[in-house]
């Protein structure tokens, strides 16, 4: 039997009068690739943020490896990595400095960071401040941060935004590598993700 990482039951989140999604239940197992589908404004980002406990739930419950959240938050955060719309990179720091100042369980060394940047195809100058990098280059730095986290669960909001064709292919490869190694990935996207024939679970959100 595969191990259940994150389990959600009857998640409901609303903003004022507007209910974004109602009674969504799912569980994310080790090795699972989980895609959120839905039009713009259907609540994908909100659901991803709710899964990270960044947004309080109106109703429903979340468990991480069987422990109720947010009580088990510390254990959850040490094993998950979130990359949202805002990239969280400091414009005045270089790509390398951004990665070495990441607040994960163990701080990555400079050589580990350079290695991760290579894996994500970062071709920009590592000694330039991030504010002068292109959106696609910044995305690759964020991907390097996700790789460095060595987290069991990746939560990626639109990981393909701003990436070129080779970048999209690379994201597919990295995600496939993560799930084949027994980790899990939850993501939202409007573009097809190239993960060869790996099975993808989907959850549809609609208005």
């Amino acid at each position: 039997m595969t191990e259940v990482l994150l389990q959600a039951k009857d998640l409901t989140v609303s903003r004022g009068e507007l209910t974004l999604f109602e009674r969504k239940s799912f569980s994310i197992n080790a090795g699972m690739l989980f895609q959120l589908q839905g039009d713009n404004g259907s609540g994908k980002t909100t659901l991803l943020r709710a899964m990270c406990t960044l947004i309080p739930l109106d109703e429903g419950e979340l468990w991480w490896r069987g422990d109720s959240l947010p009580a088990a938050r510390d254990r959850y955060f040490s094993e998950m990595c979130f990359a949202g719309h805002a990239d969280g990179l400091k414009g005045d720091l270089t790509a390398l400095e951004n990665l070495t100042s990441t607040l994960t369980e163990h701080t990555a060394t400079a050589s580990e960071c350079t290695e991760a940047l290579d894996k994500t195809g970062f071709t920009g100058r590592a000694d330039l401040p991030c504010r002068v990098l292109s959106a696609g280059q910044r995305r690759r730095v964020v991907l390097a941060r996700v790789l460095l986290s060595k987290a069991a669960l990746w939560v990626l909001d639109e990981p393909l935004t701003a990436l070129d064709a080779s970048g999209r292919e690379l994201v597919g490869k990295l995600i496939e590598g993560q799930v084949r190694a027994g980790g899990s990935v939850v993501y939202s996207t409007h573009q097809p993700l190239d993960v060869s024939d790996y099975p993808v679970q989907t959850l549809a959100l609609s208005d």
Partner: protein
Amino acid sequence: MGAAFLTLLKRDLTLAMRRQSDWLNPLVFFVIVVSLFPLGIGPDGSLLSEIAPGVIWVAALLATLLALDGLFRDDFDDGSIEQLLLSPQPLPVLVLAKILTHWLVSGLPLVLLSPLLALLLQLKLQALPALLGSLVLGTLSLSLIGAIGAALTVGLRRGGVLLPLLVLPLFIPVLIFGSSSVAAAAAGFETSAQMSLLGGLFFLALALAPWAAAAALRISAES
């Protein structure tokens, strides 16, 4: 936990060094406000030395307030606040690292420059130790208390005037004991009572503010 504290401290200090305005703005503001008083009031030495403790303290408070809005603003705008909230490290410890950076960048330069401004206002030399001591304890407390307000208002689009309204009432005890300790020292009295109270306020703020600011940050990030 200690490593994360130092990592964040180092990152924020590096950022502050690359953006000179972070630490120069409050300092220049402080100097301008204090140096305007002799110009506005006139070169009457006895009057100036009498109002010097209050003037320096009020200017220090306003300069701290000026820098306060930026405490979490950048992190909030570029999304690094989410990474902070999702860190496995205890959030109050990380918040404390940010507050300490804020003080090192905006509070400490004020304290170091204050003796010069005290001379400008003809404050008696015997009051200098009290001035430095009270400003160190006081500005640390102001940064700690102010962080709660900054965390609460960081999610608002135009939190501008709300932040001072929220934190000024909490700043007032610090201002009262701070300036009265300097005034007492200038008059040749003992200042241990005021210093003890300032120390008490500092430890109270140190014990409560990081937790309160951490909780406020989580609420602000819910938007």
